[in-house]
């Protein structure tokens, strides 16, 4: 399919925002300004931009480890304050969870962000309940869980798909198959390298999508969400993609594989080519967009750095609802 130029450029800007966010974050992480661990979504921008484009603030999504991008897009799109995702990753009081959640637990129900649970697969069970609540109340909303290929190894994968199927729940499974669960190749860790082979037995629609082709991703998400909103039950999308980040000790994948994905299958490069092929924007127009986005991300980083640290006394707040408990 071919998208109209306005939609395509919007998506290009969103994908650039994700990449600039992650590169800026990585730079600050290396300088020691960002605590904890870092999992970036570079290389997987098209999937996240496509999901963010179709999910409404009244829907729900459960992000995975590499979802800073969609978290920031949802925050920016629905509240205009994407910098609060950056501040959360810096552990600041201005973050969406006031610094209590960090990279793996950034949430904001007002923009549909139901938060990552950093035990991969855990929220495959949680998403059922969100979908069940929508169904019981007759709300036409979608509950989406973004999972990796590694998540499929969890028992919750089966429990979730089975229960979503028997109860016909409005769940969108967005499986971002980037080829590896940390270091485990997808075909070695699972009975099939195509996750849809494992999902098809539950009897609802499953599709393989080119996760680096923004038009294909946008189209697939649109189709899946229309199906779910119509009350027809769950939908499973497997996005074939590749993550740029290696493992903590560095790159472990064959050089020719790295070269192929970074140079020939870069989702931003592919999107740029599609835009230029329509002949309505020039390379300079796109460079201007890229510069604008980069400047905005730098402003977010400055905001995060200038934000106050949380009050240490807050560390004991909100353990229970309504009860102050000190042991």
């Amino acid at each position: 399919m071919t998208l109209d130029i306005e939609t395509l450029v919007d998506l290009y800007r969103d994908m650039w925002l994700i990449r600039a966010f992650e590169f800026g974050l990585e730079r600050e992480f290396k300088k020691g300004n960002v605590p904890g661990m870092l999992h970036t979504g570079v290389g997987q921008e098209a999937t996240q931009a496509a999901l963010a484009a179709h999910l409404q603030a009244s829907d729900a999504f459960f992000p995975d480890h590499r979802c800073h991008g969609i978290n920031a897009l949802a925050q920016e799109k629905h509240q205009g304050d994407g910098e609060r995702i950056m501040a959360e990753l810096f552990g600041r009081a201005t973050g969406v969870c006031s610094g209590k959640g960090g990279s793996l637990h950034s949430a904001n129900p007002k923009v549909g962000n139901f938060g990552d649970n950093a035990v991969e697969g855990s929220y495959m069970a949680t998403v059922l309940g969100v979908a069940l609540a929508y169904q019981m109340r007759g709300q036409p909303n979608v509950a989406c869980c973004i999972i990796g290929d590694g998540t499929v190894g969890r028992g919750e994968f089966h429990e979730s798909l089975n229960m979503a199927a028997i109860w016909k729940l409005p769940v969108l499974y967005a499986c971002v198959n980037n080829g590896y669960a940390i270091s485990m190749p997808v075909g070695k860790g699972h009975a099939s390298a195509d996750i849809v082979d494992l999902a098809r037995g539950y009897g609802f629609p499953c599709e393989i999508v080119d996760g680096n082709d923004i038009e294909a991703a946008y189209d697939a998400v649109q189709r899946a969400i229309a199906h779910i909103r119509s009350g027809a039950g769950p939908y499973f999308l497997e996005f074939k993609t590749w993550r740029w980040q290696g493992i903590f000790s560095g790159e472990f994948r064959p050089p020719e594989e790295v070269k192929y994905w970074k140079e020939e299958r870069d989702p931003l490069k592919l999107a740029r080519e599609k835009i230029l092929a329509q002949g309505k924007l020039s390379a300079e127009d796109l460079e201007r967009i890229e510069a604008e986005v980069k400047a905005e991300i730098e402003a977010w980083i400055d905001f995060a750095k200038a934000s106050p640290m949380p009050d240490p006394a807050k560390a004991t707040a909100d353990v229970y609802v309504g009860w102050e408990v000190t042991a």
């Binding site: 904001n108 139901f114 929220y123 949680t126 309940g129 609540a133 229960m163 609802v321 009860w323």
Partner: protein, 329 residues
Amino acid sequence: MTQATTRSRTFVQALNEALDIAMERDPYVYMLGEDIGEMGGDFGVTRGLWAKYGDARVRDTPLSEAAIIGASVGSAMLGMRPVAEIMFADFIGECYDQLVNNAAKMHYMFDGQFKAPIVVRTACGGGFGGGPHHSQSVEGWFLNVPGIVLVAPATPADAKGLLLASIENDNPIIFLEHKALYRIKGEVPEGYYTTPLRKAAVARAGSDVTVIATMKMVHEALAAAAELEKEGVSVEVIDLRTIRPYDAETVLESVRKTGRAVVATEAPKIGGLAAELSATIGEECFHDLKAPVARVAGLDTPIPFSLVLEKYILPGKEQVIAGIRSVMK
């Protein structure tokens, strides 16, 4: 809190009344679990409710404990009030992550933006030849988990009042139902009432020694107290009712008064509630104590099948009496 009119009801009937009342009062209350629908649950706690409220609000599930709790938590994030049944507490390992990493931490790690008001009813405890996987006392598995609430009634009246209070509470609650108590009878008030969480009950007043107990052990402690009364020993029995966060004030006040404490639990001694309570009593009441705190608990073994073996490892009235005698020396 209690109303004037009471009737004799079993523990199971009291729980059933609470569920019925909660479902009637709040359309967002619903139940899910294995065989809780038309069958009415393995122990009959949900009997009749499926016929009254239908499939949508009394939901039979596959054998998917993680999904049962995950679905409960997710719906609670949107304001539903799920009451899940995990048929046997021993199965809770299957949904441990959902409870410990998800339900218990949600309100905290997301800075108060989400709540997980779920109630997980589950049948625990031994004494009937259920064997290693249908008899355990699991409270110790959750004692070290900030954010979790453990409620453990000992009487039919408390079973009803505590369950209604738990369903209304905004925290994730594991509601322990000891299987040996399901058929006991007691006076249960009619209609709606709640019994406060985090508030222990003085099940029997006394002046020489305090026994702190939960669930079935409350009854063993009361039987021990009745027997020792004949010897002139006055035993105060505290029914903890909420195990986490527990009512330290009532416990410590009683121990300061009597100067002696025995903690009685069915679970193994190491790392459990008995350890926690005796440590706290030691820290807070050291100068009031006339003897070291005694722990009466299960032996440090899995629960064996044969009734002779099971009886050997689980504590009862005799062990409580021995515990009391040890602190009265």
